[in-house]
């Protein structure tokens, strides 16, 4: 009996503790018609049906805050501690499932001057469609030339799990530092993927259905090793740009740095034969950013017409002097996957005629749309605050800005999820310097919805995180090769590819 009494007491106390520890929305409060200031801003956003909880901080000058989440049907949970709204993952799944296709109402309360205030409620809409469960990105300080402690990482979007795909630290010694970049996948799957390593232990890491190899894509007949990649969605070939890239620095301009190509071409690489061949190499054109259509029958790319006028100047010097004249247009080139032959190039968007520059094209997997970044000039739009994401309807050719996705800071590197319903971009809207992944719901009618920032467990994560998220890419599965396996291959000498003339 005594034991039972003790047990009852323990249960009562535990229950009391749990009920006490759970925040409760106040019964009496003052209402205001102002929306609460929250970070990240998740008010009126549309989220995927499988996303992790969108935790946020309430910035109302008090740490005494709670938020009540109510799904259709009355399911309701309240959270709030120390100025933060941290949502239980299981309960969020309940809310999310109950609200699929509609919205979760969020009421935020803050205790200001001993009185509770309820801010104007907002909704978090839950789409019918899921998002690809993984994304990958390169975490790097927004550096200019230096590279150290860079990692390509993958993140599970259904929870907060993050892991390194490859870090440059194991091989990054003082005398042979290593830069890593341009991770890319075939058709959102990781069984075929690649990334580049520059300088120390340089080469391109190729994962091809279970085999891993390191290749040197530079040949005597090409400008450089492969740079910006696009893996053909069906057959095992990769289009790359080859670039002679330089950097120079603005004395005053807010853009701070200009990354320019003095020469660039397009090449095609066959991982099975380790051969490269030329796709485009007009000496008066700067071809870059290849991107295959979902059916693999068209290669989109950007190209700027640029003729050097002054033979007495180095090309780099002339480019620095005329950097604002570089305007990239969008081109499409037909491709026959069976014969592996290309047709002629067709200009599909003349940005130059508008005094603008179009870069980083990506096609939706349903083949209906193409997104790209548009700014005043140049190719490296991550440093251009005026860069915005544009949408082209591939049927009509109509181009419009994705206002819901854009901000007054740089948006670059757009990409579609594998179901074409989500568009992700690397945005600098938080502070103008550190790139963050922002995701927009893109509905069946071609309408974009207010973008939301990639949720993190700690709502203040982005404030304290001093690295950028570069080149965010959707993936339908995680990378299975371990970082240690990649390091082991990276230590090997690269296999030289051979040049195949047309």
């Amino acid at each position: 009996m005594i034991h039972l009494r003790n047990l009852a007491l323990i249960l009562t106390l535990t229950g009391a503790f749990i009920s006490c520890s759970r925040p409760k929305a106040p019964d009496t409060y003052i209402e205001t018609q102002e929306l609460p200031v929250i970070r990240p801003d998740y008010a009126e956003v549309t989220m995927p049906a499988n996303i992790c909880p969108p935790n946020f901080a309430v910035l109302q000058g008090t740490r005494n805050v709670v938020a009540r989440f109510t799904a259709p049907g009355g399911l309701s949970y309240t959270y709030g501690e120390d100025g933060k709204i941290i949502i239980d993952e299981d309960e969020w799944a309940e809310l999310r499932n109950a609200a699929k296709g509609s919205g979760i109402a969020v009421e935020v309360f803050a205790k200001v001057s001993e009185e509770w205030v309820r801010f104007k409620p907002f909704n978090i809409y839950i789409a019918e469609e899921d998002i690809d469960p993984y994304i990958s990105y390169r975490n790097i300080q927004p550096s200019y030339v230096a590279f150290e402690n860079i990692a390509i990482r993958q993140r599970n979007l259904t929870n907060y799990d993050e892991s390194d795909i490859y870090s440059n630290m194991p091989l990054s010694t003082e005398k042979s530092g290593q830069c890593i970049n341009c991770h890319s996948y075939q058709n959102y799957k990781t069984s075929r993927m690649l990334f580049h390593m520059r300088q120390g232990y340089g080469g391109t890491m190729i994962v091809d259905e279970g085999t891993i190899k390191k290749v040197d894509l530079k040949t005597d007949s090409t400008i450089s090793a492969g740079v910006y990649p696009s893996w053909h969605p069906q057959i095992n070939v990769i289009a790359f740009s080859t670039n002679n890239t330089g950097q120079s620095f603005h004395t005053k301009d807010i853009r701070k740095i200009e990354v320019q190509d003095t020469r660039s071409d397009l090449i095609l690489y066959d991982p099975q034969t380790d051969e490269v061949s030329i796709i485009e190499n007009d000496s008066n054109e700067l071809e870059v950013f290849p991107c295959w259509s979902a059916d693999g029958k068209t290669l989109y790319y950007c190209s700027a017409h640029f003729e050097y006028h002054n033979d007495s100047l180095a090309k780099e010097t002339e480019m620095i002097q005329r950097y604002k004249e570089v305007h990239y247009n969008l081109y499409a080139k037909s491709f026959d996957p069976k014969t592996r032959t290309f047709g002629p190039s067709i200009k599909i968007f003349n940005a130059d005629s508008l005094g603008l520059s179009a870069t980083l094209p990506r096609v939706s997997p349903d083949g209906k749309y193409l997104v790209f970044s548009l700014a005043e000039f140049g190719c490296f739009h991550v440093w251009h605050p005026d860069a915005d994401i544009q949408l082209m309807d591939l049927k009509t050719g109509e181009v419009r800005p994705l206002t819901e996705l854009n901000s007054n800071q740089s948006e670059s590197y757009p990409s579609f999820s594998s179901n074409s319903r989500w568009i992700m971009t690397a945005s600098r809207r938080d502070d103008g310097n550190y790139t963050r992944p922002y995701i927009s719901y893109f509905d069946k009618n071609g309408q974009c919805h207010k973008a939301f920032e990639l949720p993190q467990r700690d709502p203040n994560f982005y404030t304290f995180f001093l690295r950028s998220y570069n080149r965010p890419e959707f993936m339908v599965e995680p990378v299975k090769v371990t970082p240690q396996e990649f390091v082991s291959i990276a230590r090997e000498d690269p296999k030289k590819v051979t040049f195949k003339s047309k």
Binding site: Q141, P142, S143, Y144, V145, A146, F147, E148, N149, A151, S163, D164, Y166, S167, M169, P170, L171, T173, E174, K175, S248, F249, H250, T251, K252, D253, I254, K256, I257, E258, I320, Y323, D430, D431, G432, N433, Y434, D458, N460, F461, T463, F464, F465, L466, T482, P483, Q484, V487
Partner: protein
Amino acid sequence: MQRGWAFAFILAFVLFAAYYLITENSDTLFMAQSRSLFYNSEIHFKECMQLPAGLLFFIGGFLTQFFYIPALGAAILIFLWVVIALITKKAFSIRNLLMPLNLVVPFMLLVSVIDLGYWIYYIKFIGYYFVPTLGLLLVVSWAALRLPKKGLWTVIPALTYPLFGIYSLLCMAITGLQGVKGKNGNDEKTHSMQGKWYLMNVAIPFVLAVVTPVLWFRAYSELALENAWISGFPIFEAEEASSWTLSMPFIIAIVWLFILAIPKPAKWTNLVADKLSGSKLSLLCSTLIFVALAFITHKANFDNYNYHAEMRMYNAAEDYDWDTILQESAKLPGDATREMVILKNIALFNKGTVGNQFFHYNNMGEKPYVRDSLKVHMVQTAAPLLYMFHGKVNFSTRWCIENSVEYGYSYNNLRILTICALVNEEYKLARKYLDILSNTLFQKEWAEHYMPATSKTYMLNQHNIQKYYPELANIIDLQRHMGSVLDGDNGIPEMYLINYFSRSMNKDSKYFQEMTLVYALVQKDIQLFWPRFVQYAYLNSDKTMPIHYQEAAYLYGKLEPQSMDISRMPFDQQQIVARYERFNQTAQSLLSTGLDTKQVGENMKAVYGDTFWWFYFFCRDIVSY
């Protein structure tokens, strides 16, 4: 009595360490914390834990911030060293009179703090000043633990390898060495079971010390296998240099602990005990050991005058304390480093006395003194601050970030990044940096000072910032009047600044225009000088022409009369016309005696070293870096 001597040795060490840390190296300690970063965030903890010894990095980083008050940080460090000495004594049963044997490790740790020199700017080791101390404290504490079948307990250091890295391995190794003692009959119970004893107390610890890093290796994506056994051990490598000398104190400390742990033959220990039984002999030996350790420490101390003065000037510049910079510059015993020359120039610009005092200070400049092959570059030591005070906030931002990539973010570069963001009107970015600094122990006040500048009320226009933050006025003035071009410094900031400003002109900003004139003087270029001189005269027509500009105009008018007619310029008769004649005559007469230019310059320095003329003719061979 013996305890009294032990206490005396400890006290002597405390005073000795306090002298070298607080009196000799407080500027170094302050710089050490300035180049570190600890903020209260899970992200920071996770970053520390990316390598084995992560907990030590985290705690070491936390403690480093106390060097903000150098005496406080030094007191913590000395306290930990005394604890190490006392626990070492207990762990290895060392007699009171031989206390200096317990001070070998603390002395080596003291050396490791004060011998760095310019490596302080190149260390990539979070919490360097405390991690080895904490790690070795852990090792001696573990060695002092009396546990039955201790070898089996080494599974604990094996499990805590992610927290303590190499120091966990050292705990295992020490246990293995201590275990060998069983053979000597120290433990009667196990004497007859030597095989089992060795397996448990020697083999297991040593095997674990070897295999533990391998077992944990796959948990670390940022760790190379070859580094898995030394994670937490300071290695000194920079792009163009490496130094084993600086790692030696740690190696000696570890080897010394091994020596103490190694079992000594009974005959040997008895012999030593007999020989040292007389307290006088013990005392003499101890005193000699202490003196030797103190002498080594003294010799290891990096006491280059410029190294310390440069830090004091840098710290003063961060506080906009121009008088301190000029006082330091005035009392230099020899030539300054180029960084000190630029800091002096910045102070004179900001005080508005550059035209009359520029050549009153040493302008020769030399490369920083180093003991090894380290190549010191200004981009790593001071470029962000120097660029900031020249209004080149983009370049300052660039080098802050580049240095953060290589050596990690620090309070110093976050503060500079904040100022640059404010000047650039990037208020959200400034707010981000201020939010981080607000989450620190000693930078909160600084952050609170600038936080209002990011609010809507203050951010409206630059006039508000100039009104509420007058210390930024000159930086903003320069930045606003700067042209916008694509450029690059090729990693040599001083040459870039001289070239940039000496070739710029500005009719709207007196401050900017004077900078162009001064750098034209530095260039010793007549063609660059005249247009900037004329522009300066136009903008400052209500003021007396500063003496150095008069000196330059008079000299250039004499050297190249066709470049400008100076006949109607109102030169100061005494300070310019008459003095130049004396200067010229003295130079001619000295040259006629057969002295070379350098010798003539040395002879004339005392009288004419404060003139542009002396600088023009005799200040040569300046090498920037």
